[in-house]
Amino acid sequence: MIPKANWLSINVKYLAILLLLTCIPLTASVGEYSAMANALSGITLLSDSVADYAISPVMAQKGLSTFYNRPFNSSELTILGLHNAVGRKNIFVGVGTTYLHHEDYVKHEPYLNLNYRFHGLGIGATGHMMYDSVKGEDGEFDFAYDLGAAYIRGDYGLELKLLRGDSADEQLAFGMKAALSPEVTTALGYVKEKNHDDYFRFGIAAELHEYVSLYGSWQNEPNRFGMGVQLNLDSWSVMYSVRTHTALDPTHAISLDIYW
């Protein structure tokens, strides 16, 4: 027989965990975990992070990215990622994995991407494998795919992505970007999700200094703001970002990117 006080504390603990785990898919059904994705609400047209191959099959970037994400400032949840991409001529291949760890829950999502960019026109596809397990048991595998097309001309671009096709998280995203000045680029996006409300998002990237860039974003449904600062040093960068939520604490993320 569990004493009433203990029973309550156990339930409160598990309810909190459950809330956190369920909030992740509710707030963004496709995980936007890198510092860049966190700052830009998942608008990949403004991103130069290889980690964002996880949410865009048409990144056409080469390099390595690793990140740490602390969702809703929870000390019990850790999300880690390691991603890299190589390219030859116009063909790019990205591989990476995101690993979510909680004492009672584990999620692992590796992927493989192939994308082709020619004269600004890009097409790409990604295969995802998703594994999750509760308390080391009931492990389940699932598979999904991303398809995407993009046209980038200088500081202007369009992007259309189908993410996690054939899964409960399926998402169709459209985005476009335009430069307001040589230092400031903006982007606007519309996202349609299978099991959630549609929403708009807006992002901005500003190069403050040769070594410092600022990123910001907003989305409705739910209302969330993202903001990040990136330090660029030669062929590598470090970025920190934060993203608010209407009901939960903000999410923090930090990334290290190396470009080659």
Partner: protein, 494 residues
């Protein structure tokens, strides 16, 4: 649909990415732990071959702590090779060899297709000693040649670990370990080979005895058998056959092999009747350890370009002597591989039939459930001294009442200079119920992962003249108390 798309994507990656570590025709090696560790040890000795001396000591700390050492000394035609492993007990194999004619100590004879000893697939040979933990004949072996004639002779006496059922042998382990009982094993063999340009023929007599009987009444403690083989060579074709006689119907293994331009093919047939596998014989069939079977295999490897090859094969196995009509069970593999100076890539897919003997009254049970294994290995140089590596496996196995599957995913970043190598990354095994054997750079050459696990890895290697030192640390991220450390110091000279 989703799986198919995933496969298409993986296949398409080969256009850009890039290697193949295995030259076997059948893409995904099915990983027999002892074969891997013996092969890994053999590879170590091959690395030492150009040098007159080499020593290596490795210490491992983790769930078990142990030391492994290897030595190699060559003086003119004499060669000493051996390894030792110190754990809770000491085990090792040491060999003194004169040319390829005489071996003293632990040895491995290779003869014909492997129905008596290891498979030779060419003239009889005396192989390197196996992994220190593997059992091997201990004594004297001769492989003498005079003009067209050759003689292979071996005698061995060894006290071997055994698991007992009562006073009888229930199981003869192939590796040394902590067993409560032992048995005396005696074996002797004498064979003659006559070799010409176009053909070889040979015959061998083999005797094996134990001082205990077997619990399995179909196995004899005293085994006498004969083996004869013939090999015909003509241009790019080789046909060979081995016949082993143990009193009952003969065991037969045949193989036709052809190299023609960029095409390499092999076709084989084996028919095993009532056959007791000799103590150090190769596995007679690829798909089964049981007798009363027959097996057909066909394999091909084709080089599409200098850097790109495709290989495939299928093995069909059939149970004989049954009143019902047992199905032919198959393993089929296909592998595509690319390698150039910058990149390497290999993708292999294996489909496995596994018979499930299940009598279920009303519900349908598929007797050939889906069982696939997918393996991906790739590396790309991204800078003068930097490269990235990926190794992944996915196994999916349907069973009568459950799905058994698991995946392994490892990503590494490597820095390499002429004297320094630095490697970091992590590996993830995702599985609720699947034991997966993964090739690893350790003493055994493999690692057995039994539960979901994530580990970060750091390796540093430094070479200075004759000396080579490698340190490696692996930390489980889900349990901070689980750390694996290894340190290897080796030297080659002369």
């Amino acid at each position: 649909m989703k799986q198919a798309l995933g496969l298409i994507l993986l296949l398409s990656c080969c256009l850009a990415f890039a290697q193949v570590s295995e030259d076997a025709l059948l893409g995904v090696h099915e990983l027999n732990p002892q074969d891997i560790s013996d092969q890994h040890t053999d590879d170590n000795y091959k690395e030492y071959e150009p040098f007159s001396g080499a020593l290596s000591v490795s210490g491992y700390s983790g769930s078990t702590d142990y030391l492994v050492g290897y030595l190699h000394f060559k003086q003119e035609s004499w060669l000493v090779r051996g390894g030792m492993r110190l754990e809770d007990q000491r085990s090792g194999n040491l060999q003194l060899k004169f040319k390829d004619a005489l071996a003293l100590g632990a040895y491995r004879p290779a003869w014909a297709q492997g129905l008596v000893f290891s498979a030779a697939n060419q003239s009889p040979r005396l192989l390197n000693p196996p992994h220190p933990q593997s059992h091997a004949p201990l004594g004297l072996a001769l492989n003498l040649q005079y003009k067209a004639w050759a003689v292979l002779a071996a005698v061995s006496a060894v006290e071997r670990d055994v698991r007992l059922a009562g006073e009888s042998i229930s199981y003869l382990p192939r590796t040394k370990g902590l067993y409560l009982a032992s048995t005396d094993e005696r074996l002797g063999a004498f064979g003659v080979v006559y070799a010409r340009d176009r053909f070889d023929v040979g015959a061998l007599y083999y005797h094996q005895s134990y001082n205990r009987g077997f619990a399995n009444t179909e196995l004899d403690s005293v085994l006498n058998m004969g083996s004869t083989f013939i090999r015909l060579k003509g241009g790019s074709n080789t046909v060979q056959a081995e016949l082993a006689l143990q009193g009952g119907p003969a065991a037969l293994k045949t193989m036709w092999e052809s190299h023609s331009g960029n095409l390499h093919t092999r076709v084989g047939y084996a028919r095993i009747g009532k056959y007791q596998r000799p103590a150090y014989a190769a596995k007679p069939l690829l798909l089964s350890s049981l007798d009363e079977r027959e097996e057909i295999r066909a394999e091909l490897k084709y080089k599409l370009r200098r850097s790109l090859s495709i290989a495939g094969g299928t093995v069909l196995n059939h149970r004989r002597g049954s009143l019902d009509d047992p199905a032919w069970l198959a393993h089929s593999s296909v592998r595509i591989a690319y390698r150039d100076r910058e990149s390497r890539f290999s993708l292999a897919l294996k489909l496995i039939d596994r018979e499930i003997l299940s009598e279920v009254d009303s519900s349908y049970v598929n007797s050939k459930p889906l069982h696939i294994r997918l393996q991906l290995s790739a590396a790309q140089r991204v800078h003068d001294h930097w490269s990235v590596e990926l190794n992944a496996r996915y196994h999916h196995q349907e069973k009568t009442a459950a799905i058994n599957n698991g995946s392994y995913w490892a990503q590494h970043l490597v820095y390499h200079q002429s004297r320094l190598k630095f490697k970091t990354g992590f590996s993830v095994l995702s599985s609720a119920n699947y034991k997966m054997l993964v090739i690893a750079d350790n003493d055994l050459g493999y690692e057995l992962w039994g539960k979901s696990n994530v580990q970060a890895e750091l390796e540093c290697a430094f070479r200075l003249k004759w000396w080579h030192i490698t340190g490696k640390a692996q930390q489980e991220l889900q349990d901070s108390r689980r750390t694996k450390l290894s340190l290897r110091l080796s030297s080659r000279f002369g």
